[in-house]
Symmetry: C2
Subunit: 232 residues, 2 copies
Protein backbone atom coordinates (compact mmCIF):
# COMPACT_ATOMS: atom_id res chain seq x y z
CA UNK A 1 0.00 0.00 0.00
CA UNK A 2 2.63 2.60 0.92
CA UNK A 3 4.85 1.08 -1.76
CA UNK A 4 2.21 1.42 -4.40
CA UNK A 5 1.52 4.98 -3.45
CA UNK A 6 5.17 5.89 -3.31
CA UNK A 7 6.02 4.09 -6.52
CA UNK A 8 3.40 5.85 -8.54
CA UNK A 9 4.21 9.28 -7.18
CA UNK A 10 7.77 9.21 -8.39
CA UNK A 11 9.39 6.77 -5.99
CA UNK A 12 12.54 6.57 -8.06
CA UNK A 13 13.12 10.30 -7.73
CA UNK A 14 16.02 11.18 -5.48
CA UNK A 15 14.93 13.24 -2.53
CA UNK A 16 17.34 15.02 -0.21
CA UNK A 17 17.16 14.16 3.46
CA UNK A 18 16.01 10.62 2.89
CA UNK A 19 19.43 9.01 3.02
CA UNK A 20 18.27 6.48 5.63
CA UNK A 21 16.45 4.65 2.86
CA UNK A 22 18.86 2.05 1.49
CA UNK A 23 17.40 2.56 -1.93
CA UNK A 24 19.04 5.96 -2.03
CA UNK A 25 22.39 4.28 -1.77
CA UNK A 26 21.89 2.65 -5.14
CA UNK A 27 20.81 5.48 -7.30
CA UNK A 28 21.78 8.50 -5.27
CA UNK A 29 25.51 8.01 -4.98
CA UNK A 30 28.14 9.64 -7.17
CA UNK A 31 29.24 7.44 -10.02
CA UNK A 32 32.15 5.20 -9.26
CA UNK A 33 33.47 4.27 -12.68
CA UNK A 34 33.39 0.62 -13.47
CA UNK A 35 36.85 -0.06 -14.81
CA UNK A 36 39.21 -2.98 -14.87
CA UNK A 37 37.78 -4.40 -11.66
CA UNK A 38 35.24 -6.52 -13.53
CA UNK A 39 36.78 -9.71 -12.25
CA UNK A 40 35.72 -8.78 -8.72
CA UNK A 41 39.24 -8.39 -7.40
CA UNK A 42 37.85 -6.78 -4.26
CA UNK A 43 37.35 -9.84 -2.13
CA UNK A 44 37.66 -10.55 1.54
CA UNK A 45 39.33 -13.81 0.73
CA UNK A 46 42.17 -11.83 -0.86
CA UNK A 47 44.02 -13.34 -3.77
CA UNK A 48 41.44 -16.06 -4.31
CA UNK A 49 39.92 -14.39 -7.36
CA UNK A 50 40.52 -17.33 -9.65
CA UNK A 51 39.93 -20.18 -7.26
CA UNK A 52 36.18 -20.20 -7.77
CA UNK A 53 36.59 -20.62 -11.52
CA UNK A 54 38.69 -23.75 -11.00
CA UNK A 55 36.74 -25.41 -8.23
CA UNK A 56 34.74 -27.66 -10.55
CA UNK A 57 35.83 -30.07 -13.27
CA UNK A 58 33.13 -31.46 -15.57
CA UNK A 59 33.57 -35.23 -15.89
CA UNK A 60 30.47 -36.36 -17.71
CA UNK A 61 27.21 -35.07 -19.17
CA UNK A 62 24.14 -36.95 -20.36
CA UNK A 63 20.59 -36.11 -21.28
CA UNK A 64 18.10 -37.96 -19.13
CA UNK A 65 14.69 -36.84 -20.36
CA UNK A 66 12.90 -34.71 -22.92
CA UNK A 67 9.82 -32.68 -21.92
CA UNK A 68 9.13 -30.91 -25.23
CA UNK A 69 9.76 -27.35 -24.00
CA UNK A 70 12.88 -28.35 -22.03
CA UNK A 71 15.20 -31.28 -21.54
CA UNK A 72 16.83 -32.57 -18.37
CA UNK A 73 20.60 -33.13 -18.32
CA UNK A 74 22.77 -34.66 -15.62
CA UNK A 75 26.31 -33.30 -15.33
CA UNK A 76 28.88 -35.05 -13.16
CA UNK A 77 31.58 -32.84 -11.65
CA UNK A 78 34.64 -33.35 -9.49
CA UNK A 79 34.76 -30.77 -6.70
CA UNK A 80 38.49 -29.98 -6.64
CA UNK A 81 38.75 -28.69 -3.05
CA UNK A 82 37.78 -32.16 -1.76
CA UNK A 83 38.24 -34.39 -4.81
CA UNK A 84 34.68 -35.70 -4.35
CA UNK A 85 32.26 -36.17 -7.25
CA UNK A 86 28.69 -35.00 -7.53
CA UNK A 87 26.02 -34.80 -10.19
CA UNK A 88 24.04 -31.65 -10.95
CA UNK A 89 20.77 -31.55 -12.80
CA UNK A 90 20.32 -28.92 -15.52
CA UNK A 91 17.14 -27.81 -17.30
CA UNK A 92 18.09 -27.20 -20.95
CA UNK A 93 15.87 -24.79 -22.88
CA UNK A 94 16.05 -22.62 -25.94
CA UNK A 95 16.45 -18.93 -25.10
CA UNK A 96 13.29 -17.04 -24.19
CA UNK A 97 12.09 -13.57 -25.07
CA UNK A 98 9.55 -11.13 -23.71
CA UNK A 99 8.50 -7.66 -24.80
CA UNK A 100 6.88 -4.62 -23.17
CA UNK A 101 4.42 -3.36 -25.82
CA UNK A 102 3.80 0.35 -25.41
CA UNK A 103 1.14 2.33 -27.27
CA UNK A 104 1.54 6.00 -28.10
CA UNK A 105 -1.00 6.89 -25.43
CA UNK A 106 1.04 5.22 -22.68
CA UNK A 107 -0.72 1.88 -22.39
CA UNK A 108 1.11 -1.40 -21.90
CA UNK A 109 -0.54 -4.20 -23.84
CA UNK A 110 -0.65 -6.80 -21.07
CA UNK A 111 -2.01 -10.30 -21.51
CA UNK A 112 -3.78 -12.63 -19.14
CA UNK A 113 -3.49 -16.36 -19.55
CA UNK A 114 -3.75 -19.53 -17.52
CA UNK A 115 -0.31 -20.69 -16.38
CA UNK A 116 -0.07 -24.39 -15.71
CA UNK A 117 2.93 -24.08 -13.38
CA UNK A 118 1.03 -22.05 -10.79
CA UNK A 119 -2.40 -23.41 -11.81
CA UNK A 120 -3.73 -19.90 -11.97
CA UNK A 121 -4.20 -16.95 -14.32
CA UNK A 122 -1.20 -14.65 -14.63
CA UNK A 123 -0.97 -11.06 -15.89
CA UNK A 124 2.09 -10.75 -18.10
CA UNK A 125 3.67 -9.20 -21.15
CA UNK A 126 3.87 -11.15 -24.43
CA UNK A 127 6.75 -13.57 -24.80
CA UNK A 128 7.80 -17.10 -25.51
CA UNK A 129 10.46 -19.39 -26.85
CA UNK A 130 12.88 -18.11 -29.48
CA UNK A 131 12.79 -20.42 -32.49
CA UNK A 132 16.00 -22.18 -33.53
CA UNK A 133 18.08 -19.70 -35.52
CA UNK A 134 15.61 -16.87 -35.01
CA UNK A 135 17.08 -13.49 -34.00
CA UNK A 136 15.75 -12.49 -30.56
CA UNK A 137 14.25 -9.22 -31.82
CA UNK A 138 12.35 -11.09 -34.54
CA UNK A 139 11.03 -13.43 -31.88
CA UNK A 140 9.85 -10.44 -29.82
CA UNK A 141 8.00 -8.98 -32.80
CA UNK A 142 6.55 -12.38 -33.72
CA UNK A 143 5.32 -13.16 -30.19
CA UNK A 144 3.77 -9.70 -29.92
CA UNK A 145 1.92 -10.16 -33.19
CA UNK A 146 0.84 -13.75 -32.52
CA UNK A 147 -0.33 -13.28 -28.95
CA UNK A 148 -1.96 -9.84 -29.20
CA UNK A 149 -2.42 -8.91 -32.87
CA UNK A 150 -0.37 -5.76 -32.26
CA UNK A 151 2.57 -4.54 -34.31
CA UNK A 152 5.24 -2.05 -33.25
CA UNK A 153 6.97 0.91 -34.91
CA UNK A 154 10.28 0.04 -33.30
CA UNK A 155 11.71 -2.58 -30.97
CA UNK A 156 14.84 -2.36 -28.89
CA UNK A 157 16.67 -4.63 -26.48
CA UNK A 158 16.30 -3.62 -22.85
CA UNK A 159 18.53 -6.28 -21.36
CA UNK A 160 19.25 -9.96 -20.99
CA UNK A 161 19.17 -12.21 -17.95
CA UNK A 162 19.74 -15.79 -16.93
CA UNK A 163 16.40 -17.17 -15.65
CA UNK A 164 18.20 -19.40 -13.15
CA UNK A 165 22.00 -19.82 -13.40
CA UNK A 166 21.99 -22.66 -10.87
CA UNK A 167 19.77 -25.04 -12.81
CA UNK A 168 19.01 -23.54 -16.25
CA UNK A 169 21.28 -23.00 -19.22
CA UNK A 170 19.34 -20.42 -21.22
CA UNK A 171 18.94 -16.66 -21.58
CA UNK A 172 15.87 -14.46 -21.34
CA UNK A 173 15.88 -11.41 -23.66
CA UNK A 174 13.75 -8.42 -22.66
CA UNK A 175 12.57 -5.98 -25.34
CA UNK A 176 10.66 -2.73 -25.51
CA UNK A 177 8.22 -2.27 -28.40
CA UNK A 178 7.12 1.32 -28.98
CA UNK A 179 4.38 2.76 -31.16
CA UNK A 180 2.30 -0.39 -30.81
CA UNK A 181 -1.08 -0.59 -32.46
CA UNK A 182 -3.61 -3.26 -33.25
CA UNK A 183 -2.96 -4.66 -36.72
CA UNK A 184 -5.30 -7.62 -36.81
CA UNK A 185 -6.40 -10.67 -34.92
CA UNK A 186 -3.99 -12.65 -32.77
CA UNK A 187 -2.72 -15.99 -34.09
CA UNK A 188 -2.91 -18.35 -31.15
CA UNK A 189 -1.67 -21.89 -31.27
CA UNK A 190 -4.41 -24.52 -30.75
CA UNK A 191 -3.87 -24.46 -26.97
CA UNK A 192 -3.46 -20.74 -26.45
CA UNK A 193 -6.23 -18.66 -24.97
CA UNK A 194 -5.25 -15.11 -24.11
CA UNK A 195 -7.04 -12.03 -22.88
CA UNK A 196 -5.56 -8.74 -24.05
CA UNK A 197 -5.51 -6.16 -21.29
CA UNK A 198 -4.07 -2.70 -22.02
CA UNK A 199 -3.12 -0.93 -18.79
CA UNK A 200 -1.50 2.45 -18.16
CA UNK A 201 2.25 2.14 -17.71
CA UNK A 202 1.90 4.12 -14.47
CA UNK A 203 -0.07 1.20 -12.98
CA UNK A 204 2.79 -1.27 -13.35
CA UNK A 205 4.54 -0.72 -9.98
CA UNK A 206 1.27 -1.27 -8.14
CA UNK A 207 0.41 -4.33 -10.24
CA UNK A 208 3.79 -5.81 -9.24
CA UNK A 209 3.46 -4.82 -5.61
CA UNK A 210 0.00 -6.41 -5.41
CA UNK A 211 1.36 -9.56 -7.09
CA UNK A 212 -1.15 -9.33 -9.91
CA UNK A 213 2.02 -9.25 -12.01
CA UNK A 214 4.10 -11.95 -10.34
CA UNK A 215 6.24 -13.41 -13.14
CA UNK A 216 9.91 -12.86 -12.27
CA UNK A 217 10.90 -12.52 -15.92
CA UNK A 218 8.24 -9.90 -16.56
CA UNK A 219 9.47 -7.91 -13.56
CA UNK A 220 13.00 -8.13 -14.99
CA UNK A 221 11.78 -6.41 -18.15
CA UNK A 222 10.28 -3.59 -16.10
CA UNK A 223 13.51 -3.30 -14.09
CA UNK A 224 15.33 -2.67 -17.37
CA UNK A 225 12.69 -0.21 -18.53
CA UNK A 226 12.97 1.69 -15.25
CA UNK A 227 16.74 1.98 -15.71
CA UNK A 228 16.56 2.93 -19.36
CA UNK A 229 18.94 5.81 -20.17
CA UNK A 230 17.76 9.15 -21.39
CA UNK A 231 17.35 9.36 -25.14
CA UNK A 232 19.56 11.83 -26.94
Amino acid sequence: MPLGKAAASGIFARQPGAARNPRDLIFGWPKKRFSSERGCTHTEAGGKSHVIEKAWTLLNSREVSDHRIFRIRDDVYRFEPSGRERDFVVIQSPDWVNVIPLTDDGQVVLIRQYRHGIRSVSLEIPGGIIDHGEPPDSAAIRELREETGYTAERVRLLGRVRPNPAIQDNYQYCYLAEGCRKAGDPHWDPFEHIEIVPRPLADIPELIRSEEICNALVINAFYFLATLPRQA
Copy 2:
Protein backbone atom coordinates in the same frame (compact mmCIF):
# COMPACT_ATOMS: atom_id res chain seq x y z
CA MET B 1 27.55 2.24 -21.52
CA PRO B 2 25.10 5.14 -21.56
CA LEU B 3 22.82 3.06 -19.37
CA GLY B 4 25.52 2.51 -16.78
CA LYS B 5 26.39 6.16 -16.67
CA ALA B 6 22.82 7.24 -16.49
CA ALA B 7 21.87 4.64 -13.90
CA ALA B 8 24.57 5.62 -11.48
CA SER B 9 24.00 9.32 -11.81
CA GLY B 10 20.43 9.11 -10.57
CA ILE B 11 18.67 7.52 -13.51
CA PHE B 12 15.50 6.98 -11.51
CA ALA B 13 15.19 10.69 -10.82
CA ARG B 14 12.37 12.30 -12.73
CA GLN B 15 13.60 15.04 -14.99
CA PRO B 16 11.31 17.55 -16.63
CA GLY B 17 11.42 17.72 -20.39
CA ALA B 18 12.32 14.08 -20.83
CA ALA B 19 8.82 12.81 -21.36
CA ARG B 20 9.82 11.03 -24.58
CA ASN B 21 11.47 8.36 -22.47
CA PRO B 22 8.89 5.65 -21.85
CA ARG B 23 10.37 5.09 -18.44
CA ASP B 24 8.95 8.41 -17.36
CA LEU B 25 5.51 7.08 -18.07
CA ILE B 26 5.89 4.54 -15.31
CA PHE B 27 7.13 6.60 -12.48
CA GLY B 28 6.32 10.12 -13.53
CA TRP B 29 2.59 9.93 -13.97
CA PRO B 30 0.01 11.01 -11.44
CA LYS B 31 -1.21 8.13 -9.34
CA LYS B 32 -4.26 6.38 -10.64
CA ARG B 33 -5.68 4.63 -7.61
CA PHE B 34 -5.79 0.91 -7.87
CA SER B 35 -9.28 0.06 -6.72
CA SER B 36 -11.78 -2.63 -7.46
CA GLU B 37 -10.48 -3.21 -10.96
CA ARG B 38 -8.08 -5.93 -9.81
CA GLY B 39 -9.81 -8.51 -11.93
CA CYS B 40 -8.66 -6.71 -15.09
CA THR B 41 -12.13 -5.81 -16.23
CA HIS B 42 -10.69 -3.44 -18.80
CA THR B 43 -10.30 -5.83 -21.67
CA GLU B 44 -10.58 -5.49 -25.39
CA ALA B 45 -12.41 -8.74 -25.52
CA GLY B 46 -15.15 -7.16 -23.42
CA GLY B 47 -17.09 -9.32 -21.00
CA LYS B 48 -14.67 -12.23 -21.25
CA SER B 49 -13.11 -11.55 -17.87
CA HIS B 50 -13.87 -14.96 -16.48
CA VAL B 51 -13.38 -17.06 -19.55
CA ILE B 52 -9.65 -17.38 -19.11
CA GLU B 53 -10.10 -18.79 -15.62
CA LYS B 54 -12.36 -21.53 -16.97
CA ALA B 55 -10.48 -22.47 -20.12
CA TRP B 56 -8.62 -25.38 -18.52
CA THR B 57 -9.88 -28.38 -16.58
CA LEU B 58 -7.28 -30.51 -14.79
CA LEU B 59 -7.91 -34.18 -15.54
CA ASN B 60 -4.90 -35.94 -14.12
CA SER B 61 -1.59 -35.29 -12.39
CA ARG B 62 1.36 -37.59 -11.79
CA GLU B 63 4.97 -37.22 -10.69
CA VAL B 64 7.36 -38.53 -13.31
CA SER B 65 10.84 -37.97 -11.83
CA ASP B 66 12.73 -36.72 -8.77
CA HIS B 67 15.89 -34.66 -9.21
CA ARG B 68 16.67 -33.91 -5.53
CA ILE B 69 16.22 -30.12 -5.72
CA PHE B 70 13.08 -30.38 -7.85
CA ARG B 71 10.60 -32.94 -9.14
CA ILE B 72 8.93 -33.20 -12.54
CA ARG B 73 5.16 -33.51 -12.72
CA ASP B 74 2.91 -34.12 -15.69
CA ASP B 75 -0.54 -32.55 -15.58
CA VAL B 76 -3.20 -33.49 -18.12
CA TYR B 77 -5.79 -30.83 -18.94
CA ARG B 78 -8.82 -30.53 -21.12
CA PHE B 79 -8.80 -27.27 -23.09
CA GLU B 80 -12.46 -26.30 -22.90
CA PRO B 81 -12.64 -24.06 -26.01
CA SER B 82 -11.85 -27.08 -28.21
CA GLY B 83 -12.41 -30.03 -25.89
CA ARG B 84 -8.95 -31.35 -26.73
CA GLU B 85 -6.59 -32.74 -24.10
CA ARG B 86 -2.97 -31.90 -23.55
CA ASP B 87 -0.28 -32.59 -20.94
CA PHE B 88 1.82 -29.87 -19.33
CA VAL B 89 5.10 -30.47 -17.56
CA VAL B 90 5.66 -28.72 -14.22
CA ILE B 91 8.87 -28.32 -12.22
CA GLN B 92 7.93 -28.71 -8.56
CA SER B 93 10.27 -27.04 -6.06
CA PRO B 94 10.15 -25.83 -2.49
CA ASP B 95 9.96 -22.04 -2.24
CA TRP B 96 13.23 -20.13 -2.61
CA VAL B 97 14.60 -17.09 -0.82
CA ASN B 98 17.28 -14.50 -1.45
CA VAL B 99 18.51 -11.55 0.56
CA ILE B 100 20.28 -8.26 -0.17
CA PRO B 101 22.77 -7.92 2.70
CA LEU B 102 23.61 -4.27 3.34
CA THR B 103 26.35 -3.04 5.66
CA ASP B 104 26.16 0.28 7.49
CA ASP B 105 28.75 1.74 5.12
CA GLY B 106 26.65 1.02 2.05
CA GLN B 107 28.23 -2.20 0.83
CA VAL B 108 26.22 -5.11 -0.54
CA VAL B 109 27.72 -8.43 0.54
CA LEU B 110 27.71 -10.16 -2.85
CA ILE B 111 28.89 -13.70 -3.42
CA ARG B 112 30.56 -15.36 -6.37
CA GLN B 113 30.07 -19.04 -7.02
CA TYR B 114 30.16 -21.52 -9.85
CA ARG B 115 26.72 -22.15 -11.25
CA HIS B 116 26.26 -25.48 -12.93
CA GLY B 117 23.30 -24.38 -15.06
CA ILE B 118 25.32 -21.81 -16.98
CA ARG B 119 28.66 -23.59 -16.40
CA SER B 120 30.18 -20.32 -15.29
CA VAL B 121 30.79 -18.19 -12.21
CA SER B 122 27.91 -15.90 -11.23
CA LEU B 123 27.84 -12.80 -9.02
CA GLU B 124 24.78 -12.95 -6.79
CA ILE B 125 23.26 -12.25 -3.40
CA PRO B 126 22.93 -15.02 -0.80
CA GLY B 127 19.95 -17.30 -1.10
CA GLY B 128 18.70 -20.82 -1.39
CA ILE B 129 15.91 -23.26 -0.75
CA ILE B 130 13.53 -22.66 2.16
CA ASP B 131 13.48 -25.72 4.40
CA HIS B 132 10.19 -27.54 4.94
CA GLY B 133 8.22 -25.61 7.57
CA GLU B 134 10.85 -22.88 7.84
CA PRO B 135 9.56 -19.28 7.82
CA PRO B 136 10.96 -17.42 4.79
CA ASP B 137 12.62 -14.71 6.91
CA SER B 138 14.39 -17.36 8.98
CA ALA B 139 15.62 -18.94 5.76
CA ALA B 140 16.96 -15.55 4.61
CA ILE B 141 18.88 -15.08 7.87
CA ARG B 142 20.13 -18.67 7.78
CA GLU B 143 21.35 -18.51 4.17
CA LEU B 144 23.08 -15.18 4.85
CA ARG B 145 24.89 -16.63 7.86
CA GLU B 146 25.78 -19.94 6.20
CA GLU B 147 26.99 -18.54 2.90
CA THR B 148 28.80 -15.40 4.10
CA GLY B 149 29.30 -15.55 7.88
CA TYR B 150 27.40 -12.25 8.17
CA THR B 151 24.52 -11.51 10.52
CA ALA B 152 21.98 -8.69 10.20
CA GLU B 153 20.41 -6.25 12.64
CA ARG B 154 17.07 -6.45 10.87
CA VAL B 155 15.50 -8.24 7.94
CA ARG B 156 12.41 -7.27 6.02
CA LEU B 157 10.46 -8.68 3.09
CA LEU B 158 10.92 -6.72 -0.13
CA GLY B 159 8.58 -8.75 -2.30
CA ARG B 160 7.67 -12.13 -3.66
CA VAL B 161 7.65 -13.44 -7.23
CA ARG B 162 6.91 -16.57 -9.20
CA PRO B 163 10.18 -17.69 -10.84
CA ASN B 164 8.28 -19.04 -13.84
CA PRO B 165 4.48 -19.33 -13.71
CA ALA B 166 4.36 -21.35 -16.93
CA ILE B 167 6.45 -24.28 -15.73
CA GLN B 168 7.26 -23.84 -12.03
CA ASP B 169 4.98 -24.04 -9.00
CA ASN B 170 7.03 -22.24 -6.38
CA TYR B 171 7.63 -18.74 -4.97
CA GLN B 172 10.82 -16.71 -4.62
CA TYR B 173 10.93 -14.45 -1.54
CA CYS B 174 13.22 -11.40 -1.67
CA TYR B 175 14.51 -9.88 1.59
CA LEU B 176 16.58 -6.91 2.62
CA ALA B 177 19.03 -7.40 5.52
CA GLU B 178 20.31 -4.18 7.07
CA GLY B 179 23.12 -3.54 9.54
CA CYS B 180 25.01 -6.58 8.30
CA ARG B 181 28.37 -7.40 9.83
CA LYS B 182 30.76 -10.31 9.80
CA ALA B 183 30.01 -12.57 12.75
CA GLY B 184 32.21 -15.57 12.00
CA ASP B 185 33.16 -18.02 9.31
CA PRO B 186 30.64 -19.21 6.71
CA HIS B 187 29.23 -22.71 7.06
CA TRP B 188 29.29 -24.17 3.59
CA ASP B 189 27.89 -27.54 2.73
CA PRO B 190 30.48 -30.06 1.46
CA PHE B 191 29.98 -28.93 -2.15
CA GLU B 192 29.76 -25.17 -1.60
CA HIS B 193 32.65 -22.89 -2.48
CA ILE B 194 31.86 -19.20 -2.30
CA GLU B 195 33.82 -16.00 -2.64
CA ILE B 196 32.49 -13.08 -0.58
CA VAL B 197 32.61 -9.84 -2.52
CA PRO B 198 31.33 -6.66 -0.84
CA ARG B 199 30.51 -4.01 -3.43
CA PRO B 200 29.08 -0.50 -3.09
CA LEU B 201 25.32 -0.47 -3.58
CA ALA B 202 25.80 2.31 -6.12
CA ASP B 203 27.62 -0.18 -8.39
CA ILE B 204 24.62 -2.51 -8.70
CA PRO B 205 22.93 -0.93 -11.76
CA GLU B 206 26.18 -1.12 -13.73
CA LEU B 207 26.85 -4.69 -12.57
CA ILE B 208 23.41 -5.65 -13.91
CA ARG B 209 23.84 -3.70 -17.13
CA SER B 210 27.21 -5.34 -17.80
CA GLU B 211 25.65 -8.77 -17.05
CA GLU B 212 28.16 -9.45 -14.28
CA ILE B 213 24.99 -9.80 -12.23
CA CYS B 214 22.77 -11.82 -14.57
CA ASN B 215 20.55 -13.89 -12.27
CA ALA B 216 16.90 -12.95 -12.92
CA LEU B 217 15.90 -13.60 -9.31
CA VAL B 218 18.70 -11.39 -7.98
CA ILE B 219 17.60 -8.59 -10.30
CA ASN B 220 14.05 -9.01 -8.95
CA ALA B 221 15.35 -8.31 -5.44
CA PHE B 222 17.01 -5.10 -6.66
CA TYR B 223 13.81 -4.10 -8.47
CA PHE B 224 12.01 -4.33 -5.14
CA LEU B 225 14.77 -2.42 -3.34
CA ALA B 226 14.61 0.33 -5.95
CA THR B 227 10.85 0.67 -5.41
CA LEU B 228 11.06 0.54 -1.63
CA PRO B 229 8.85 3.21 -0.05
CA ARG B 230 10.24 5.99 2.06
CA GLN B 231 10.57 5.05 5.69
CA ALA B 232 8.49 7.02 8.16
